[in-house]
């Protein structure tokens, strides 16, 4: 094949030389904007040829053209102008700014089209919108930018990547994640490899006609990222310095902070428990509470609060117990006035949370020549989180070059290197989580160990004071661990290196026919480092533990294609045919040793006892053929048709899938009847339909029956673990999209779209009766419908002289409905119902409809929590009694016993309550973002708010803080103050009774919370230094700004942040996203 290519090249070179024989002269001049300011980097083309150049730094150009030739001047954001070459060889051109934002270029399917002619659904986000926010990667910055795109910033860990969902939830068991395309190639690297500052634009493609151009993997939407080239920056040196602070700006849960208040609540719990013993009196209950508030050796414990944690100056009794009678006044259940503290336990948050710095420097150098351009950028960022030892630093360098060779070959190359390091101590989902400790440890427990007199003890090894691991007598919370200490003394780090290379070559073969080749390669190596030090950490039994793992990812894609373009009178046609192959390889290797020499040595050699190593390689390959035809007639009627055939190595018997799409648009304002409309400046209607595919979320080897490889007493043992399905094939969804784009009266523009996406042949982990020996089988079955409407509206409210004010709002409303569950092969009928966590799935409901127990409130007589219990009332007396059948789960019971006489009652025994549909789901009524931008003279202010209305989330972190454990086992939310205390109290918060009422805070509707929120996502105040001043300073341009991210959030309760997960649910281990304030300076030389 190599030789063939060489021959072709030689042939093309000869062919190209022939073109050069036309008679020409040199035309030169200046391209400026309407105000006379030069436009560097504008494109000048000889019409009908491929001859072209770009203006230099001062807006000057020179090009050889023949008299009579037409020169086409274009620049992004300006109206293109055509000028004939006359006698003069001097030509000055002024371009008018294009008022219509609709002239945005949409990058789609390896080519650009103007938004005006685009039939599909897409939204372009300018690079500035992303780089202005203080985020290290594009995923977080997308929040609020596009209607129908939901961004969940799941963690405050600096450098973390957000979860992005486009248009609902497209699959039951398959992936719901969008496909990323960077510079025309599928991107499998880390999003952190791309400095947001190097991004020119992001286009989010939502409908079938747009996404199908990337092969079948775009079913969940496509995010197309285009990086900057020389021509985007002109001849310039640009330096940006940003410095600021990260802090915890969004509130945490309001918890009990006073140890006295905590011990009072704990006492009440034990007291209430005592009150429920046989023949109890208030006196006996008080005695019981006094005897059992602290845990004494050998006692029957309802307390996990050891006596050594008595932080008050109250005497001890003969049996070693604390004299609780001296501490607590039984009349009020609170600490007696006058009781003094032996010591004050540290507030744990003070020692683990801190305001931290964020610093960033970016330098870009760009140079544009006649036939080539180079864009070079360097960036460094140091981003430190508010939690101890959580940070991210990155160094990246990027070179992007464009070359025009022999007038008919364009080469466009980028090379990007990124090195990053991240520390993420104490952020896991375990007892090591710093956040769990700060909110949940009862405030009576100190961070540092205390001696009998309440004094801190010096740490003989690391200096400072000994942390309290709760070992001495068994602290009731986090016995034997200390998440804050571990976060400080251990190491949890990852270091990554990545190289991304992308080369795009296009050859003009003949008029209107181009051959394209794109090669993209991403290399990513991550070095994971974990050290548990030898003296205090969980690995102290082994003398410390160090482990390393290396994960290497290699991705490449090769695309070869032909593009054809032709204009026949008022009819334009363009088409392309291409072939794409991709390969993904992931290799993992780990090593581990214990018994460390140096307590902080992170190399394997530092340990002497070998632990087993591990390693494996994963591979994935895909191949696609893509064909597409775009036509337009009179710039009025647009039609796009595409077909693709895709294969994935994930499938065995049915690798290939066929997909197609068709879309059309009609620009009504081009018609005579609207052309002169005063009302409509622009109006377009569009519709598209297509079938696209998904191969994600099913693992790389779903076709095979898999056997695990195990060591059984040093023999090989192989156990069947996963049932495969060789017939598994592409998940397909049929997507219909329609919409209207408009601009009215020069001040109101926007688009409204509606879509319906029907997913069938769906990846479905069909559950089986586990008695068959496995748990589930992946099949293509079931049906899911997502439909919704999206709006994106912009208002230019004021434009008076120096003052400009504009606003925008976007939003989406969608529904998600499961229409069919998979067929059960035993019955040949559809399965009727399944449960997935807190959600029940049945036909006609969303995937996220809550199915759990129904909380009915607090019994005012007993203070117990109550739930609804359903039963089959066999004797029809309205009560549950002998012979009646308790119903654990309502829907399947009704399915199996349609004739049953079902009644309900309240129960205070959680185990007797019934799971049922609560007719609540996570799906919001509407969500989106709005912005308000203003500028006055050289000042400009922009704001971006995110909002969500409707929908329910399970506030699991709050549930934990409203628990009912033994004394000393968990801290409380301040709402515990509203708990039931005595008969007649009417409240929604049940009594505390030291775990007597079992499962009092287990899952139920009690903790379902409206997930409405409004958040100030970003605000930016900028000042452009006047050009005259800048020039005096020797600068071309300078601006200053202050920007704030994630500054404020209002939700149902403080600390409840439904924007951090897809379901809105919370967790006790969550690192809430950082708030960031940054001051920036941008200088252009």
């Amino acid at each position: 094949m190599k030789t063939k290519l060489k021959g072709l090249l030689a042939f093309l070179l000869v062919f190209a030389v022939q073109i050069a024989f036309a008679q020409t002269k040199t035309v030169s001049g200046l391209v400026s904007d309407q105000d006379g300011a030069p436009l560097p980097g504008a494109t000048v083309l000889v019409k009908g040829t491929n001859k072209g150049t770009t203006t230099d730094f001062d807006g000057n150009f020179s090009i050889s053209a023949a008299q009579g030739d037409v020169l086409v001047f274009s620049f992004i954001g300006y109206v293109t102008k055509e000028v004939s070459v006359g006698n003069s060889s001097q030509l000055n051109v002024s371009l008018a700014q294009d008022a219509q934002a609709l002239e945005e270029v949409i990058v789609t399917g390896f080519g650009d089209v103007s938004k005006k002619s685009f039939a599909g659904s897409a939204k372009v986000v300018a690079g500035e919108n992303v780089s202005q926010k203080s985020f290290t990667n594009v995923s977080q910055a997308l929040a609020g930018e596009v209607a129908g795109v939901a961004v969940f910033n799941t963690s405050g860990q600096p450098g973390s990547t957000s979860t992005v969902r486009i248009r609902g939830f497209g699959s039951v068991s398959g992936s719901q994640a969008p496909l990323y395309i960077v510079d025309d190639a599928p991107f499998g690297g880390s999003l952190n490899d791309i400095n947001p500052n190097d991004i020119k634009s992001i286009t989010v493609l939502k409908d079938a006609s747009a996404t199908s151009l990337y092969g079948a993997r775009g079913a969940n939407g496509v995010i197309v990222i285009t990086t900057k080239r020389g021509k985007d920056a002109g001849n310039s040196i640009n330096v940006q310095v940003k410095t600021g602070t990260n802090y915890q700006g969004v509130a945490r849960y309001e918890t009990i902070r006073s140890p006295e208040e905590y011990i009072g609540i704990a006492w009440d719990g034990v007291y209430q428990r005592g009150l429920r013993a046989a023949n109890a009196t208030t006196a006996s209950a008080t005695a019981y509470a006094n005897a059992n508030l602290f845990e004494i050796p050998g006692g029957g414990p309802v307390s996990d609060l050891p006596t050594i944690y008595n932080m008050w100056n109250v005497p001890s009794l003969a049996n070693g117990n604390v004299d609780v009678a001296a501490l607590i006044d039984p009349a009020t259940g609170t600490v007696r006035p006058g009781v003094t503290r032996k010591y004050t336990p540290e507030s744990w948050g003070d020692y683990t949370f801190q305001d931290a710095n964020r610093n960033e420097v970016i330098m870009t150098i760009s140079n544009v020549g006649e036939n080539s351009s180079v864009y070079t950028s360097f960036g460094f960022i140091d981003d430190i989180g508010y939690a101890t030892n959580t940070d991210f630093s990155r160094l990246n360098g990027r070179v992007a070059a464009t070359h025009k060779i022999k007038d008919f070959i364009d080469v466009n190359t980028t090379l990007n290197y990124t090195q990053s390091e991240s520390n993420n101590n104490g952020t896991g989902s375990s007892s090591s989580s710093q956040f769990w400790w700060v909110d949940n440890i009862p405030t009576v427990y100190p961070l540092f160990r205390r001696d009998a007199d309440g004094n801190k003890i010096e740490d003989p090894i690391y200096g400072g004071y000994l942390y309290d691991y709760g070992l001495e007598r068994g602290r009731g919370f986090g016995f034997a661990t200390n998440g804050v200490a571990d976060a400080k003394i251990n190491v949890s780090r990852s270091k990554a290196n990545s190289v991304n290379f992308n080369n795009n070559t296009t050859m003009n073969i003949t008029d209107g026919v181009t051959l394209e080749n794109n090669f993209a390669y991403q290399y990513y190596m991550n070095d994971g480092i974990s050290l548990n030090e030898p003296f205090y950490s969980p690995a102290k039994g082994q003398g410390g533990l160090v482990s390393r793992d290396r994960a290497e990812t290699k991705n490449y894609s090769i695309r070869t294609g032909l593009r054809f373009k032709k204009q026949i009178d008022e009819f334009n046609i363009s088409a392309f045919l291409s072939h794409v192959a991709t390969a993904y390889e992931y290799n993992y290797l780990s090593a581990e040793r214990s018994k460390l020499v140096l307590p902080d040595g992170i190399d394997i050699a530092n340990g002497v006892v070998n632990a087993p190593g591990y390693g494996y390689t994963d591979n994935e390959r895909t191949e696609s053929y893509i064909a597409n035809v775009n036509t337009d007639y009179q710039n009025k009627y647009f039609l796009t048709v595409s077909y693709n055939k895709d294969a994935s190595s994930r499938f065995i018997n049915n690798r290939w899938g066929d997909f197609y799409s068709v879309g059309g648009a009609w620009a009504l304002t081009e018609e005579e009847f609207l052309k002169d409309s005063k009302f409509f400046d622009f109006l377009k209607v569009k519709a598209s339909y297509g079938t696209i595919g998904n191969s994600g979320g099913i693992g790389l080897y779903p076709g095979y029956n898999l056997y695990s490889i195990n060591n059984l007493s040093d023999n090989i043992s192989l156990a069947f673990t996963t049932k495969g399905n060789k017939d598994l094939t592409w998940e397909k969804s049929n997507q219909f999209n329609t919409g209207v784009d408009f601009e009215i009266g020069g001040f109101f523009s926007g688009s409204v779209e509606a879509y319906k996406k029907v997913t069938n042949d769906m990846f479905y982990d069909r559950q089986v009766g586990p008695s068959v020996g496995y748990a589930s089988l992946k099949v293509n079955d079931g049906e899911l419908i997502n439909q919704g409407i999206e709006f994106d509206l912009d208002f230019k409210i004021l434009n008076k002289g120096d003052f400009k004010l504009s606003a925008g709002i976007n939003g989406e409303k969608f529904s998600n409905k499961l229409m069919a569950l998979p067929i059960d092969p035993v019955t040949g009928e559809q399965q009727k119902f399944s449960v997935s966590g807190l959600y029940g799935n049945e036909s006609g409901r969303s995937l996220f409809d809550y199915y759990t127990k129904e909380y009915t409130g607090v019994n005012p007589t007993t203070g117990a929590a109550e739930w609804t219990a359903y039963f089959e009332d066999k004797n029809n007396d309205g009560k549950f009694n002998t012979g009646d059948v308790r119903i654990n789960s309502l829907t399947p019971y009704v399915n199996d016993n349609p004739e049953a006489n079902i009644q309900s009652e309240k129960t205070d025994v959680y185990a007797n309550a019934t799971n049922k549909f609560l007719n609540k789901s996570i799906i919001p009524d509407v969500r989106g973002a709005f912005r308000l931008n203003a500028s006055f003279k050289n000042f400009n202010l922009s704001t971006l708010f995110n909002y969500q209305l409707g929908g329910w989330a399970y506030d699991s972190a709050y549930a934990t803080l409203m628990g009912n454990g033994y004394a000393g086992t968990n801290n409380f939310h301040v709402d515990i103050r509203n708990r039931w205390r005595q008969e007649g109290d009417v409240t929604d918060v049940p009594r505390q009774d030291a775990a007597l009422q079992i499962q009092q805070n287990s899952s139920s509707s009690r903790f379902l919370t409206r997930s409405d929120f409004i958040a100030l996502n970003n605000v930016r105040l900028g000042y452009n230094v006047p050009k005259s001043v800048a020039n005096k300073l020797g600068l071309d341009n300078a601006d200053l700004y202050i920007t704030g991210d994630n500054l404020w959030l209002a939700s149902k309760r403080k600390g409840f942040n439904p924007s951090t997960s897809i379901t809105g649910g919370t967790g006790i281990y969550t690192y809430n996203p950082l708030s960031t304030l940054v001051f920036g300076l941008n200088v252009k030389l």
Partner: protein, 512 residues
């Protein structure tokens, strides 16, 4: 001017088009294979060439006995048969839950699991035991099914082990998911005898026991002459042990006696006091952490650090107060106080509980301790956090001395019962003459008590409770339900059929 030659352009177009199409790859490009696990085809290929891998799928059955996740969950408790042994000891009221920190096994001791089919503690044993059955069926099917004519010894011994594993699993299922095993016509669990069967309806208790006996008796024959290389494998004696229990569950005491006696006479002896507890500071013989160190241990797994078992995910982490795990940090379990009170004053086994009367209570700290606890001077967290190397045992010959006595008493042969019991206890209790005075129910009760005392924590008491149709009362060291009495057929002592079986097995819609 440009010399336009349409033919030339057509040629170029044709050339380039074909180039594009030719660039398509060969179909092999799209073939990938796993390496972290292996496909069935890769396993077959390995077995064909590698003698070390030949036994791989058979050993894969055994590996599930202790593998993390064999119960199909990611829970830290999900570590196979020993989780069941511990849970069953709690449900049979012999093992008191003394602390609930970190909430581990809380729903077992509070007995809410056994009322709530959604609770994953129901799913784990179900999935685990049916996994054993399915893996066994895969091996059996590979040999041509359980009716196949086998010619070589290797085939017979492989089939024998797979059948034994299947029979063993049905024995467990029939106890764990059936409230009253004495009702042989009552509903039990589905039976699968081939690996590719779809969901089956429930069989009766009698049918499941019959299946277990059929499998085990066939295995007993097939394993004749089989000399195992590792104590994890089923040999004839282990099979006979399971048969003795199965006949016991059916109250067929003649057969129970016959099989128990066979095991007693198989030459394993019994564990000595020095092996079951810590007799002195220099005693390094004891403990159950090395199955090969004790001849009387008939069945168990040798755990090496290469098996990568972390302390938090093993039986050791949950029972051993010296390991780095829950038992050491406030979630400890010890002997029921009522049962402990049955120890005679001169019983050496009391030394297994060195913290009796102290804050830890009746934890079996000198019965179950990891390999390094003693060497490290009985220090908390003296065991490793990861890569545990302490073994796990599943059966020891002692059980059959006691079962033999039990069967003899049931058969009315009190002389044999007494002699067997006295002989067994003679090195554990200084004065065993009190046994001579016992007869009838008192003798039977004594045999039962001694079985529970001896086998505490080993998961045997639950089966005893069910085969003897006993009731048990929680002692005063429990955190919940202290003083309450539970009958062997109490709903709360038996797992629920897990939700997924009810939802997705169209042939099963209700609990047992």
């Amino acid at each position: 001017m440009l010399n336009y030659n349409p033919m030339k352009n057509i040629k170029i177009f044709g050339l380039v088009s074909s180039l594009v199409l030719l660039a398509s790859c060969q179909e092999e490009f799209l073939e990938t294979y796993p390496t972290a696990s292996l496909s069935q085809e890769q396993v077959s290929a390995a077995v064909a060439v590698n003698p070390d891998a030949a036994k791989g799928t058979l050993l894969g059955i055994y590996q599930q006995l202790y593998a993390r996740g064999s119960g199909g969950t990611t829970a830290q408790e999900d570590f196979g048969v020993h989780l069941q042994h511990m849970n069953l000891d709690i449900l049979s009221q012999d093992m008191a839950h003394l602390g609930k920190s970190y909430n581990r096994q809380r729903t077992i001791s509070e007995m809410t699991t056994t009322l709530n089919p959604d609770d994953s503690f129901n799913y784990m044993p179900w999935r685990f035991l049916y996994r054993i059955i399915n893996l066994s069926n895969l091996v059996i099917d590979g040999l041509g099914g359980d009716q196949a004519e086998l010619t070589t010894n290797v085939q017979k011994h492989t089939m024998g082990q797979a059948l034994a594993a299947r029979g063993w699993a049905y024995f467990y299922l029939n106890h764990l998911f059936v409230n009253d095993i004495s009702n042989l016509t009552g509903p039990s669990v589905p039976i699968y005898t081939a690996s590719d069967q779809l969901e089956q309806p429930k069989s009766t208790v009698g049918e499941v026991f019959n299946q277990a006996i059929a499998d085990l008796e066939k295995a007993e024959v097939l394993l004749d002459g089989f000399v195992r290389s590792d104590k994890i494998e089923f040999n004839q004696d282990v099979v006979r042990g399971v048969l003795a229990y199965t006949y016991g569950a059916l109250n067929n005491w003649t057969k129970t006696y016959e099989y128990a006696n066979k095991v007693v006479n198989a030459g394993y002896g019994k564990m000595s006091p020095a092996e079951i507890t810590v007799l002195g500071p220099d005693d390094t013989v004891g403990g159950f952490n090395d199955v090969n160190a004790h001849q009387a241990i008939m069945w168990g797994v040798t755990v090496t650090s290469s098996q990568e078992l972390a302390s938090l995910f093993t039986w050791w982490g949950f029972i051993d107060v010296w390991s780095y795990s829950y038992a050491a940090v406030g979630n400890h379990k010890g002997m029921d106080a009522g049962l402990y009170s049955k120890f005679r004053a001169d019983d050496i086994r009391k030394t297994q509980f060195p913290f009796a009367g102290k804050s830890l209570g009746y934890v079996p700290a000198y019965k179950f301790y990891n390999t390094t606890a003693q060497a490290k001077g009985w220090r908390t967290f003296s065991g490793p956090q990861v890569n545990v190397d302490s073994d796990a045992h599943y059966m020891r010959s002692d059980e059959f001395h006691l079962l033999k006595a039990e069967a003899a008493a049931e058969l009315g042969d009190e002389a044999t019962a007494k002699t067997t019991l006295k002989n067994y206890l003679s090195d554990r209790i200084t004065d065993v003459s009190y046994i001579d005075a016992l007869s009838g129910a008192a003798l039977q009760e004594e045999i039962s008590v001694q079985t529970r005392l001896e086998l505490f924590g080993e998961g045997k008491s639950y089966f005893l409770m069910k085969r003897q149709r006993q009731s048990r009362t929680r002692g005063d060291n429990w955190l919940d339900y202290k003083g309450e009495t539970f009958s062997h057929n109490d709903e709360r002592l038996t797992y629920e059929l897990p939700t997924n079986e009810l939802l997705f097995n169209p042939n099963i819609t209700d609990q047992n």
